[in-house]
Every structure is written in C-alpha cells, then in structure tokens.
C-alpha cells in the first residue's frame, strides 16, 4: 500500500467535519434561541439576549406537572424493564431451550416496528378492554419498548463473563441467594445501571408511542409538542428543550462509560 493512503485526504477530513457539524449545530441553535428577546419568531441573529425565559419557565406549573409525570412514567417503566429484561437475559444466556430465538425476536419487536405500530396496537387493546388512559397506560407502553435495552445490556455482559464463577460459588457452599448477592450482582451491576439509564432516557423523551397511549396526561415531550402550535413565548419551549437535552445527554454519557467493552476501546493494531 502506498504511504499516501495511510492519511486521510483533505476532502475526506472536511466532509467528516461537516457531517459532525451537521449533527451538532442544530443543538446549538436550540440553546441560542432560549436566550433571544424575540418571543414569537426565530430571527437570526437574535435581536437581543435575555435570561428572562428561564424564570418564566421555572414559574410555569404546567412544566413542573409534565416533568413530574415524565419522571414517574420513566421510573416505573425502567423498574419493570429491569426486572423483565434481566430475567429474560439470564434465561437466554445460560440455557438452551425450544423457542430461544423467538425470545430475542419478541423482545426487539416493540422497538423494531415503527412507533405508530406499537403505539396504535397498545391503544387499540386498551380501548378494546376499556382501560382508561392514565399514567399507568403510559408506563405499560414505555416498559414494553424499554425491556430490550436492559435485555441487550445484561445479555452482552453475561456472554462476556464465565458461567464457572457461579459453579465455583456453589462448590464453596453458597446458597443461590448468596451467589446472587455476592457473585452475580457485582458482576452485572454496571450493566444493569447502564441498561436502566438508557431505558430511562429512552422513556423520558419518547413522543410517538406516548401520544397514542396518553389521555389528558401530558409528559414533557407532549408539552413541547403542544407548545409548538402556540405562537407566543417560543423561547420557553427552548428552555424546556435544553432541560430535556441535559437530562438525556449526561446520563447517556455515563452509561457509555459504564459499558465500554475493553475489547473495542483498545488502540488500533499496529500497521
């Protein structure tokens, strides 16, 4: 191979930089317009900068109510996903049984199908059974598509760890409960935490399935969606959007660090 091929050409570097900028400039725009003095439009450059929208958002009870609901739904959905996802992962990782492939398929289905399918499916069964829409219908819907996140994280960890540690623990006289407490749990802890964080983030800002399974309830994304139809006080929406970005970016960063596979983060092999 010629020496020239080992370094990227200027063109490729520029395109790469442009694509990364394409991914991030819009988020900067959200931040910028949270400070604009213009309440109804998106004039660029902003006519002036102010922090008054933060106070207005802070004093808005609707936003607090929506935040509370979003946190409650995400919390319940995450707990259900943790229980179901890790049990399924444990069963699939350690045993071979009839229908094992079907488990992986059915777990991924709620997230692989378009959101409107999952959303409308749950909505039609709720209305068929006469279940009134509430925080619980939202939590059920969110838990359904969050299971796969925990499942994948725990399964990946179980596949990397040796099954003999459990046998060793039993040979040393530990009961199943002790083995779980002192061997399995410490081994899985970071995978469970990362799975929980990602499931929480996924639920916290989900909008499509949420729209179909909510009645009068408004989660934070639904509040943002509705506020887009209101011409006034646009920057308040941006303040809330900043909050949503912060509430998802930071935890996801932590989850990524927790699950970093030592095999993939090693440096490149020498050439």
């Amino acid at each position: 191979m010629s020496a020239g091929m080992q370094r990227a050409g200027l063109g490729l570097k520029l395109v790469t930089g442009a694509v990364v900028a394409f991914l991030y400039v819009p988020l900067a725009i959200i931040f910028l317009y949270a400070f604009t003095t213009q309440s109804a439009g998106f004039r660029f450059p902003p006519p002036g900068l102010t922090t008054e929208w933060f106070g207005i958002a802070f004093r808005n009870p609707e936003i607090w109510e929506a935040l509370r609901l979003s946190l409650a739904v995400a919390g319940v959905a995450t707990l259900v996903a943790l229980a179901l996802g890790s049990l399924l992962a444990a069963a699939v990782a350690r045993t071979r049984f009839f229908g094992r492939e079907a488990i992986s398929f059915i777990v991924i289905l709620p997230i692989a199908l378009p959101g409107i399918v999952t959303g409308l499916a749950l909505r039609s069964s709720f209305s068929l059974l006469g279940v009134p829409f509430s925080m619980w219908t939202l939590a059920i819907a969110h838990a359904t598509f969050c299971v796969v996140i925990v499942y994948n994280n725990v399964l990946a960890r179980l596949r990397r760890s040796s099954p003999s540690i459990v046998e060793a623990s039993a040979d040393l006289g530990a009961s199943g409960l002790q083995t779980f407490r002192y061997v399995i749990l410490p081994n899985l802890a970071t995978a469970l935490l990362a799975g929980a964080i990602l499931a929480f983030a996924l639920s916290f800002d989900e909008i499509i399935v949420t729209t179909f399974t909510a009645g009068q309830q408004r989660t934070l994304p639904i509040w943002i969606f509705n506020s887009l139809f209101r011409p006034r006080q646009r920057p308040v929406t941006n303040v809330v959007a900043m909050l949503v970005i912060a509430m998802t970016f930071i935890p996801i960063m932590i989850a990524q660090i927790l699950t970093r596979d030592p095999a993939t983060s090693r440096s490149r092999p020498p050439r």
């Binding site: 191979m1 091929m5 080992q6 990227a8 570097k13 395109v15 790469t16 694509v19 990364v20 991914l23 991030y24 819009p26 725009i29 959200i30 998106f42 660029f44 259900v80 229980a83 179901l84 049990l87 399924l88 444990a90 059915i106 289905l109 692989a112 199908l113 378009p114 959101g115 409107i116 399918v117 409308l120 909505r123 039609s124 069964s125 209305s127 619980w136 059920i140 359904t144 039993a170 009961s175 199943g176 409960l177 002790q178 083995t179 990602l198 983030a201 800002d205 499509i208 179909f212 943002i224 969606f225 929406t237 959007a241 949503v244 998802t248 996801i252 960063m253 990524q256 440096s267 490149r268």
Partner: protein, 332 residues
Amino acid sequence: MGVVSFGAPPPSSVGRRVGAAMSVAANTGTSAAHRASAFFFRHPVLKLLLFLLPGVLWLGVVYLGSLGSMVSYSFWRLEEFTGLVVRDFGFTTYEELFSRANIDIILRTTAMAAAVTVGCGILAFPLAYYMSRYASARMKTVLYLAVLMPLWSSYLVRALAWRQILAGEGVLLWVLDKLGLDPLVARLLDVPVIGGPSLVQSYIGMFTVFVYLWLPFMVLPIQAALERVPLSFLEASADLGAKPWLTFRRVVFPLALPGLVAGSIFTFSLTLGDFIIPTFFGTSGFFIGLQVYVQQGTAGNLPLAAAFTVVPMAIMTVYLLVARKLGAFEAL
C-alpha cells in the same frame, strides 16, 4: 420485585411469588436458602420457567395481544352515520385503504423513505470510512460518542431545532444570504414536486430534517462493517495494480454493503412510521404516520388507522427478507 405488579396483572402474580420465595429463603436462614437453591438446581426446567414467565407473559400477552387486537380492528369497519365501530369481520376498511387518495399517501411515504435512506447513506459513508480507516483510537472514541449521543437524545427536540433553522428569518437563510446563495434556494423551491412556498413547507425541508434525524442509525452499522475489512485486502488490491477508486468500488464498497443495508432498515422504517415531522414540515400532502394519527384521533376511525399500520408492517417484512438475503443481519 413488587414493581412488576404495576400495570398488567399477568406478570404480577409471578413476580410476587418469586418475591415471596426469596424473602422466605432470606428469613428462615441458610438451611432454607440452601434447600431452595438445591431444589432449583435439581429442577432446572422450573427455574428456567420462573425466569422466562414474567417477560414472556408481558411481551406475549400485552404486546403481541395488542398487535392482534389492532389487526382485528383493521378487519372491522366504522359505521359512517353513527361513527361507531362495527365488529363484523370484513374487508370494507381495506377497500377504503386502497382508494386512490390513500394509495397516493402510501406511495408518497415510501418515496420519501427511499430518498431519506439514500441521503443518509451518502452522508454517513465518508464519516464511517474516516472513523474506521484513519481516526486515531482517541479520535475514534470521540467520533463514536458524537454519533451515538444524538441517536439517544430527544428526537422531538432535534426536530424543533430544524423548525427554527429553516424559518423564514432563520439562520440557514441568513447564512445563505451572506454567501449570496439565496437565489439558489428560490430556484430550488420553484422545482415542482420537491419545492413549496418556504423551506419549512416543502419536501426539501422535510427531507433534510429526516436525514438529520436518522443519520446516526446509518453511520454506526457502516462503520462496524468497514471496521471488519482487513487492511491486507486493500494492500492486495493495490499490489494487483488497482487504483484507490477501483479498490473502493470493487473491494471496500461490496464489503460495506451489509452495513449499509442494516442501517437502511432503520432509516427506512423510521421514516415510514413518523407523524411528527409531517405535522411540522412539508406541504399539505399526508403521510402514513400522519394519517394513522389523524384517523385514530380527530377522525375517530380506528379501523382505518389500524389498516394503515398494516402497510408499514408489510413493507418492512418484505424489506427485512431482502435485507437478510444481502447479509444485513450479520452486520447489525
């Protein structure tokens, strides 16, 4: 374990039973705990069932049951005068689905999904190629996170950003104006099908937002596929006299294709089922997702909404079968 009892009833009883078994074992000391573990060791099938039951019940009853109820709705019909759903099996709703106007919606959505997929592929490939071939280990981690973060972060917020970027007085037109490129935008908006009165109200704007939203889903599988192309293949190709472009076309691209197809599953499926973007961007033409949203909501026609969701499911089934032929599942 008690958490499981929230929501659907089926898993709860199992959850409580497991919880009870655990607390009994903990309270009565090690001998009971040992007896319990010995019991489950001797009965591995029982243990397996205990692990599987809550999840299988939830996904099997709550989720698959819901999908079933939705499909059955699509075979029912709406009585026009009363506005009530008539629960008689029939194909009236499907006849409505295949009316001229609805066929247009399906074709429009599929065309947009295809265009978005191609757009994502074109933008994703150079970035994925740079990541897998040239980036240092540190740079690769940075770029990987840079691509991954938007994938997990709020899709609604990112769509909102574009509403502000594409606005009439917004940043994009300001930049283009400074560069003296605004006549180009005017000319682009004059193009019949893809144009419109403004960037927000045109398919160009809608396409841009879709490409932006789904781009990370395309980058990661392509990068993973390129990562597996051995350097020796490129060296061999060069040794045999191929110019870099020929090597790319005949060696690199075919090996990256499964990754490209894997990414396209996401970009295609996500565009097919979206209703948020067509609400805020594009012209008055409806899209599948928007039609489902309107039919189940203001129009109150749950059967037609259900029949419409069968369309993306059918398209994706065919798509996945083709993708499997192209080896995309190994690249996921």
